[in-house]
Point group: C2
Chain length 640, copies 2
């Protein structure tokens, strides 16, 4: 076998290896290092290198995108040397950054063309005759006639502007600038509504808001150009009264609880607006329009509606399609005449965040059979095409938010967000948010860890920890069998970070609930999940899920990688589109009306599907062919 | 000449007098007394007696109504004995009471037939299906469907009721009582609006409000029956910031002034509602509808609109036809969903009090040429028939309110409200409000006094006081020539109460302004004031004017007594009708649209008419034939 000369950059180290050697072996032979947290199984992607020339063959390209491959990337543990070539060993940090953003699902920029004619707010200057003894029409009649001549008959002039009218007309010398809401949200087909007036030009601005149970996100938008002038996100201040929707609803039932919760989320909005003001100089009184999404409970709490009946069968909210209110009516700290359009939801557990998400994710524009999922505290799922949609919500519980897990935590600094386990040594490698000593495991870290434990054989398909493995990482702990992810010496708390059998059970119930949702939705319309052409992952949680790991534990269906798309916070994206276009607002109403809601608690097949999903990855492993392959390879090697 | 035996009751005194003797002479001959403040000229009506039998002939029946004559009343100084008869001498107090209520103009009850179908508020019970997992429409959609089935599609449900909806539906076991505004004022031809909901029957109530510059009046009305459940009136709390419209407008221009004035009138309303609550037990939150009248400035101040431009040429208000607001929007202490319909005005100085007055006074229903006048701080005049109407406002100034007159005061306790002067002795007799020592002269007292001074020859037609009369009542005072109405010894202050030449000039300017208004209005449409078929006197001031005296000074046109009708506070009467009927609300809008406003300050003929009216009663005395007769009789007697 001929030897080939490999040159490693940037150190310019050379080494000779025979045909068929792995690049990872050559690196070690050259005295250099490459990370291999998965034990060289081609699972973690951490050993990526850049090939300069054709002298090597990639056996597997897991975790590499076509763009990566074009750029020369290859996994050192999965690449066979076949000739001379130069290889760049990227800095570890660089790989880390790539891993953070690339994951395995493609991140997709959603298409949206801004059309100023569609946004429904118009600003222009109105010229009118100065009054005289002969022409003594009152100020209101005068401006209404001028607006009628400008194409807006019977324009509504709200009280706060009637109060300013006398000064505005005279100070502007009978030629004020006006801002009109031509798409008068509160009277969709009615006359326009005056929302601002003054002697100087006024730049109409809008706000898109997504109220998540955990995080509130806002975009400040220029209605003239569609540009996002600033954005800000912050934890929902209601977290102090409970981490999930159910505990908020229970708190709302207490004396003064509802008022507390409404005040908290508004205080969060005020804080975000203040942050935006510091960055952009835009004060809240300049905001002329708001579109708002959130799950049904969040919208209820924002509007001050008691959410109690959402929690109890038959799960009836006060409303799914809120009328358009004004900021003044709601007591918000914006221009009091700004219309506040809370986007429509479908049911108590499929809210406006989902309809906005469907608008943004293009599901409703496509003929392709598409599955849209938004996994947060709950998992909401939509299956369909532009012609039909079914939807359901699965109460995944808070396990993926880090709650109900011994060392669980939210995805903040110190959270282990991704884990790789060496399939030979069972030693873990992990990445921590903020690159600090670990404090616990967040949702994506838990999914990643459970997947690794499963594919490396530390836990079996039923979720039991194999205590007989030859590693100190596996042990009988205070809470039963457990796996030690980080030893006390390396953690922030000075205590071991572990995943217990109880934690595993909780995670399995959570993932089973969501997968059962997929199954029931699909069988309700007689389609096979394997035929789904696109799986669109939205939501803040989706943003950090490693799809490969999520498939391995059976949380997501096992379809080819290229069918997955990671879309980020689709709720805020859809809301941004809605605030900019009456067509999109109309579209979202159509979407809400088009969606058929399946109440899983009323569906006997859900329990069966849930039970069947309480395995890793599932009772019927044939549903997960790629996972079966990895798992069987490991199991057979183990037994060999 | 045969003597006739007269018997006076109740004393049973008898006396014999010849044919042709006056009853007043017979009374004196019998040693009895009868009041004759006017000196026996048949002007004051204070010597009224009751004749029992046909033995006497009435020469004049001034101040007696046909009902009075049927009941046997006669004026002792104007009744000639022609046979035997019994005569009752009523107690003085009884005559006084009659004079207070009867005046000379007939008091008319205005026709209004209540039609429950017209009031635009409907209350009924709604029955709906309880939700289930199979029928999981939200609460709002559920009640909207039930309301649609009851004939009210797309019913608007305001935010405060959306907030109560969940509890209301469940507490009522899915059969709540609702109150609907079917005549949705804010969207006249739009869908109905839900204004109340609860588990128990709700009685819809309404409030009619008239905000006068001086007095605020309210009626609490049962919308089911049209009955007035309670009423209350009180001085407008804004009086602290100025007595007339102009001083209020000036105060509103100061820092914080507008807010002060708005708060004051609302505080007055709150006080009136509290008074009504104490009497009826009805709390303000049970009021579901409001109609409100007032002059244009009062409506501006109530709504919080800056009134500054009302005062300056070309006298343009912010609005004449306010949209319908809700009590919540206005910050009123009522049911926040109550619609508040500020009735439409015509111009800065012809406001909703006048359009409501025209509605109430039947001018717009009749073919008869009618003059409607409302004399308060300003004098507003409407001339027309049901087919056309012209209107103007005369800035009478505050003289009739007692301001700008040395001993002027408002019509409260201690005010001299009517005066009679003996044409021989020039000694006055007067009536004081509350029957206490006099403190000053109110508007009706000033008119009465000026008329008496004129017809008894104390002042001449130019308004000069005749200092050469043989009476200590006439003298040169500190402010020029003056007449002493009450000596220091009889007054509350211990100072003489006088009317000076300067006061007379002020009063003459005030009455000239109003009469000039009549003249200009009449000539603008080419009619003669003498052809006016009805003169309808409204307003709180009109209530106390003695029409005869007002004609004598040339304030009112000289037409036969029976053409005058005294209607009381026509503004509140019209408002009461408006709150009860959408037909009447529509009618008042038509009336406002139908009225042609004449801006007197833009009319050259006004100055001429004003100058011509600066005489007693007028430069052209032929316009006042009845006054000319009385005056010439006195003057000729004087010179005889």
């Amino acid at each position: 076998m001929a030897d080939h000369k490999l040159t490693f950059l940037p150190s310019n180290t050379t080494v000779e290896v025979p045909t068929g050697a792995l690049v990872s072996e050559a690196i070690r032979k050259a005295g250099l290092e490459v990370a291999q947290p998965c034990g060289g199984q081609g699972r973690c992607g951490r050993c990526a290198v850049i090939l300069h020339g054709p002298g090597a063959r990639r056996r597997s390209t897991v975790r590499l995108s076509p763009q990566d491959i074009d750029a020369g990337y290859a996994l050192a543990c999965q690449t066979v040397v076949e000739g001379d070539l130069s290889i760049t060993l990227p800095e570890q940090a660089r790989i880390q950054r790539r891993m953070v953003t690339d994951k395995t699902a493609a991140r997709v920029e959603l298409p949206f063309v801004y059309d100023a004619a569609m946004q429904g707010v118009r600003t222009f200057r109105v010229y009118m005759e100065e009054p005289s003894l002969q022409d003594n029409r009152d100020d209101l009649a005068r401006i209404q006639r001028a607006l009628a001549e400008a194409g807006h008959p019977n324009c509504e002039v709200p009280l706060p502007l009637v109060r300013r009218l006398s000064a505005a007309l005279r100070e502007s010398d009978w030629a004020p600038w006006v801002v009109l809401e031509t798409d008068n949200g509160s009277r969709p087909n009615g006359p326009a509504r005056l929302i601002d007036i003054g002697p100087d030009p006024i730049e109409p601005l809008a706000l898109a808001v997504d109220i998540g149970t955990t995080t509130v996100s806002t975009y400040l938008v220029d209605l003239t150009t569609g540009a996002v002038l600033g954005s800000a996100a912050e934890y929902n201040g209601q977290i102090a009264f409970g981490e999930d929707v159910i505990s908020r609803i229970m708190y709302a039932g207490k004396e003064g609880g509802l008022a507390d919760l409404t005040a908290r989320v508004r205080a969060t909005m005020t804080e975000l607006l203040e942050r935006i003001r510091l960055r952009t100089g835009v004060t809240p009184d300049r905001i002329h329009k708001v579109a708002l999404a959130g799950n049904t409970t969040m919208v209820h709490l924002f509007l001050g509606l008691p959410p109690g009946s959402i929690r109890l069968a038959p799960y009836i909210p006060t409303l799914n399609q809120p009328p358009v209110y004004t900021a003044g009516e709601l007591g918000l700290d914006l221009n009091p005449l700004a219309s506040v359009d809370c986007l429509p939801g479908v049911a108590s557990y499929v809210g406006a965040d989902i309809t906005a998400g469907v608008l943004a994710c293009t599901l409703a524009d496509s003929e392709e059979l598409t599955l849209f999922i938004d996994v947060g505290t709950n998992g909401e799922i939509v299956l369909g095409t532009r012609d039909w949609m079914v939807t359901c919500a699965c109460s995944a519980g808070p396990a993926f938010e880090g709650a109900g897990v011994v060392n669980g935590m939210r995805a903040t600094e110190g959270a282990i967000e991704e884990v790789w386990i060496n399939s030979t040594t069972y030693e873990p490698t992990f990445r921590v948010i903020g690159d600090v000593a670990p404090r616990g495991l967040c949702g994506s870290g838990l999914i990643s860890l459970l997947a690794e434990l499963f594919v490396t054989g530390v836990v079996d398909r039923g979720g039991s920890v194999k205590l007989d493995l030859n590693t100190p990482r596996v042990r009988q702990g205070d809470h039963g069998p457990e796996y030690v992810v980080a030893w006390a010496a390396e953690t922030a708390s000075g205590q071991d970070i572990v995943l217990t059998k109880v934690d595993v059970d909780n995670l399995m119930r959570a993932k089973a609930a969501i997968y059962a949702g997929f199954s029931v939705l699909a069988s309700s319309v007689g389609v096979d999940l394997a035929h789904v052409q696109r799986i669109l992952v939205g939501g803040s949680f989706g943003k950090y899920i490693n799809v490969e790991k999520a498939v391995q534990i059976g949380l997501l269906p096992d379809v080819p990688w290229d069918r997955f798309q990671f879309l980020g916070n689709t709720a805020i994206l859809g809301t941004y589109r809605a605030v900019l276009s009456r067509e999109e607002r109309e579209r979202i109403r159509q979407i809400a009306g088009q969606m058929t809601y399946l109440e899983l608690s009323a569906d006997n097949s859900f329990y069966d599907a849930f039970t069947a999903a309480l395995f890793l990855p599932h009772t019927e492993i044939v549903r997960f062919p790629s996972v079966a392959e990895v798992w069987e390879r490991n199991t057979s090697r183990e037994s060999a």
